[in-house]
């Protein structure tokens, strides 16, 4: 079997000639569109691709992008960050998390500030590294602050499986895994966003299967194309949406067929279901409470559940964003980052007021970094 080369990860999906040809075809085929295409890219990864590669500049004016709620860092409410901080401040504790979570402001502080104050807070590259840290620090409580959509949930489940198998007793989980379909439903049910097509996140569908998007076209009259993250993937997905519109079809289609199936990864789904179940309520930053939109540990794994074990020290009051911050409106698809009066002035990546400015996948961050020239 030939070994996977690092080059295979990206080569071929950024060919300038293919990109130019796709952009031209889209431009030609949108000439007959009856209405502007307001495409919501649900996932922050797609926002990043569109901005980083300047794809909007290549497309006609009757295609617009609306940035969705799909960034696990952006949607984390302040009280959950406060949980992470409270856990990190416990004596003899190591708090583990992923990526930009370290920098997101809670109500008074952030994990980055608390780390500078002396708390042992570490960013992981892979959740499974938590095992090594727990084994190396038997006299400490190790808390994994788990975040992410359907994409990263199996890794947390795999970690739990190992913890159980190896009999590790000092590793606890604070679960913040959220789900894409309820969030999209919440935004569409609100009725204010003028969205008439979706780009669906492929990474999520690799796990959950494209079936999770199947209800959307019928429910909201908007086509969904499940798309990869390379520039060519995104452009091809846009073309597929344009063609559906021109042919007056409204379906769920898979562009990212190299990895996505209708059913998804059944084994991963089973593993998640073994350890986790839907949470009755989860408050999304800026959007509010969305029922069944997140997961929590099942009762039989309560011994690993940091939310239960350390319940006494965890704050319970919901905390809203600063009133000048419009992250919530942006996450609902009702505004763009540059509509916000503090964008780029009081709120910058170095000093973010809202979560959309923190994460590399946040819409505000992408607008700030890559801007519009």
């Amino acid at each position: 079997m030939s070994e996977l080369q690092l080059k295979d990860l990206y080569d071929g999906f950024r060919d300038p000639d293919v990109i130019k040809a796709l952009a031209k075809t889209i431009t030609d085929e949108t000439k007959n569109l009856k209405e502007t295409l307001n495409i919501m890219e649900v996932c922050g990864g797609h926002t990043h691709t569109i901005m980083k590669y300047g794809l909007k500049q290549l497309l006609p004016h009757n295609i617009d992008f609306i940035h969705g709620p799909g960034c696990p860092v952006c949607i984390m409410p302040k009280e959950r960050i406060d949980h992470a901080i409270a856990l990190a401040q416990m004596e003899d504790t190591i708090l583990l998390t992923l990526g930009d979570m370290i920098r997101v402001p809670g109500s008074k502080s952030s994990l980055a500030v608390e780390r500078a104050n002396g708390c042992d807070i570490r960013a992981l590259y892979s959740p499974l590294d938590a095992i090594k840290i727990a084994l190396e620090n038997p006299d400490k409580k190790v808390v994994f602050f788990a975040i992410g959509f359907e994409t990263t949930t199996p890794m947390t489940a795999a970690l739990l499986e190992q913890v159980e198998k190896q009999g590790i007793t000092n590793l606890y989980f604070h679960i913040n895994h959220v789900l894409v379909p309820p969030a999209v439903d919440a935004i569409m049910a609100d009725g204010q966003a003028k969205i008439n097509a979706f780009i669906g996140p492929a990474h999520v569908s690799v796990i959950s299967g494209a079936k999770i998007y199947q209800p959307l076209p019928e429910k909201y009259g908007a086509p969904v194309v499940v798309s990869g993250f390379e520039p060519i993937d995104v452009l091809q997905s846009i073309l597929m949406i344009v063609r559906q519109k021109n042919e007056e079809r409204c379906e769920m289609e898979i562009q990212y067929s190299r990895s996505v199936t209708l059913e998804g990864n059944i084994k991963a789904q089973e593993m998640i279901a073994k350890f986790m179940e839907p949470r009755k309520h989860f408050r999304w930053r800026g959007i509010g409470d969305i029922p069944d939109s997140a997961l929590e540990l099942r009762e039989e794994y309560a011994a690993y559940d940091a939310e239960k074990i350390f319940a006494d020290i965890l704050p319970t009051e919901p905390i809203d964003d600063h009133k000048l911050c419009i992250c919530g409106t942006i996450l609902k698809g009702l505004a763009k980052p540059n509509n916000c009066q503090v964008f780029g002035t009081a709120c910058t990546p170095n000093n973010p007021m809202g979560s959309c400015m923190v994460s590399a996948e946040g819409a505000c961050n992408a607008y700030y970094r890559y801007g519009e020239i």
Partner: protein
């Protein structure tokens, strides 16, 4: 002297053990008349205007593919001088060593420093050793300061002119990617080597070829993005860069794809950026191509007035975007 296995607090005590460490290790490898004179301060003679710089080196892990902290401490300081058009002459070297540090490792590091000095001809003429209790430093910190004679004046981040050509001396991001791979134990195999190297021979080749140089800077922390943004701001110009012209090693690009990083933000320790008047650009490339570490030097863009203080990256398919300064820590993407 029989070499001890570990550095002990007594090696920094100023007595016999300190004396043997200095004589048997540092004097042995850094030997030169000024150093061996062992006075309180080195007495130096210089004939021209001098450049003076200092830098402290802490890196984890201290040994990495392509170098170690010692090689870095010499190349880093020598390169800071070279980037000002100064021929590196004299260096100081101070070691802050954690009690218990392996003597053999220290020897390997000191040898690497002596080896790296040969590339510029600079000498270590004074130094200091401190041993601190376990936990007070992370294994070993090295500070090096350096003096060099200015061979070419007027090189400055404030001197970029409209029309200047921007050249990069090699592929970008290798040091940062190599350190990341080793530090985080990412479990990815591949021969990803730091670019850690002394740049004086390349600068000397440019000076010998009489190339006019507006600005020159080694792209260390913050990488290519940081240098270009600093220049754009300091000279109040726009740097328009062709993305497809920036050389990036395949393995570095692969790491970036996996974790959502930008190779342009990764540190380099032997790659520099150069801004030269358009008429001298070919000459500069020809000079750089005669030196091993810069033989892949290439033009990546030009200075304009389009948007003062900003760096614009043009893609191969007709779109463009700003290249911003890297922000915060390098943390992997989560989605």
């Amino acid at each position: 002297m029989t070499s001890p296995k570990q550095i002990q607090l007594s090696h920094g005590g100023g007595g016999e053990e300190t004396n043997s460490l200095i004589h048997d290790l540092f004097y042995h490898y850094f030997s030169n008349d000024t150093l061996l004179a062992a006075e309180d301060a080195a007495v130096l003679e210089v004939k021209k205007k001098i450049a003076f710089t200092t830098d402290s080196f802490t890196v984890s892990p201290i040994f990495f593919n392509g170098g170690n902290i010692g090689k870095l401490a010499i190349a880093g300081t020598v390169n800071d001088l070279a980037m000002m058009g100064a021929k590196p002459l004299y260096l100081s070297a101070s070691f802050m060593i954690e009690e218990g540090f392996s003597f053999d490792d220290l020897k390997t590091i000191v040898k690497a420093m002596a080896e790296e000095l040969k590339h510029s001809g600079a000498k270590i003429v004074c130094g200091d050793t401190k041993v601190v209790p376990k936990g007070a430093v992370d294994k070993l910190f090295i500070n090096t300061s350096g003096i060099g004679e200015i061979e070419k004046e007027g090189i400055s981040a404030n001197h970029l002119q409209e029309g200047d050509i921007i050249i990069v001396s090699g592929d970008v991001g290798r040091h940062g990617a190599a350190i990341l791979m080793e530090r985080e134990g990412l479990g990815i195999s591949g021969d990803l080597k730091s670019d850690c190297a002394t740049l004086w021979p390349a600068v000397q080749a440019l000076i010998d070829a009489n190339v006019s140089i507006s600005a020159m800077r080694d792209a260390t922390r913050g990488g290519l993005s940081a240098v270009l943004n600093e220049w754009a701001e300091q000279s109040a110009v726009c740097l328009e860069i062709k993305e497809s012209n920036i050389p990036v090693d395949q393995a570095v690009q692969g790491i970036c794809e996996l974790f959502g990083f930008e190779a342009f933000d990764f540190a380099n320790e032997g790659t520099f950026i150069l801004s030269v008047p358009e008429k001298d650009a070919q000459m500069a490339l020809a000079a750089l191509h005669t030196v091993e570490v810069t033989k892949k030097a290439t033009m990546i863009g030009q200075v304009s007035r389009k948007k003062e203080g900003r760096v614009i990256l043009h893609s191969a398919y007709g779109s463009s975007r700003y290249l911003d300064l890297p922000k915060g820590e390098l943390l992997p993407r989560i989605c």
